[in-house]
Symmetry: C2
Subunit: 125 residues, 2 copies
DNA sequence: ATCGGATAGGTTCATTCATGCATATCGACA
DNA sequence: TGTCGATATGCATGAATGAACCTATCCGAT
């Protein structure tokens, strides 16, 4: 219950990223785009979502292009113009994609956290 | 069993990275350093391991410094000089670290693969 | 008709991190 | 004692990615 590792174990931070790509390794969907899609769904606006997440609009716009280009059908329903400038919401497919990734991610979150705790315990004995 | 997503699902590639850092977000241990440590253990040489993994010696050396600096005790036992130029092996602690990460990673590998298959199935129905 | 605010998209700069290259050091062995 | 090959380390270059900036376009409401 006391090893050379012990004093440092509490300073270790765990990180992980999950993402999906096409054959050319172009990013399709990962934590960033997933959060973005969720927030667009909630806010009804790309700009509002970008502001909240602290991402630049330019970057986000480019990223979302990649997703739609890959799938070949729209995940976003964008409207330009109007007194409010425009707005963006998810299509049915967009919502389905987000829900599926939600479940996937949640499951991994839990498992990985457990695994990490075991990892720490292992170094402690 | 047939959705807009279906034609594209087989083109999706899954990726993920797990790594650990200190409070300053300096990388301590991740897939790269883990593989490197394993291969050094097997080969008994940093250079040989670098050659096999296709990493530059310079980069690897810098990365391994970070791990040891963080823990404050050696994970590597390095010998310079000699007719063979020198060699490097893992200390007991180095081996323990690798074993613990082995188990952690294997468990995550399996779980994440399962989760991904469910994800695909979900988009297929 | 004009205005405002969001979507659309080009371009350049900054930062990060690995690569490439150079050089120094070490020490068993011939 | 000189050699050889791996470890040790600085530095300059290069590639990738996002930030920052700018301009254009759309269109409902005034």
């Amino acid at each position: 219950m006391e090893t050379k590792f012990s004093p440092k174990l509490s300073d270790i931070r765990l990180h992980y990223k999950i993402w999906m790509s096409d054959e050319q390794e172009t990013g399709i969907l990962g934590d960033g785009k997933w959060q973005m899609l969720k927030l667009i769904e909630e806010k009804g606006s790309m700009k509002a979502a970008c502001d909240e997440l602290g991402y630049t609009y330019r970057r986000t716009w480019g990223n979302l292009q990649k997703i739609e280009k890959f799938f070949g059908f729209p995940l976003l329903e964008k409207q330009r113009g109007g007194s409010d400038g425009g707005h963006t919401q998810l299509t049915e497919e967009g919502k389905r994609l987000v829900r599926a990734f939600d479940a996937f991610h949640l499951s991994v979150d839990n498992h990985i956290q457990q695994g990490f705790e075991k990892f720490i315990q292992e170094l402690n004995k």
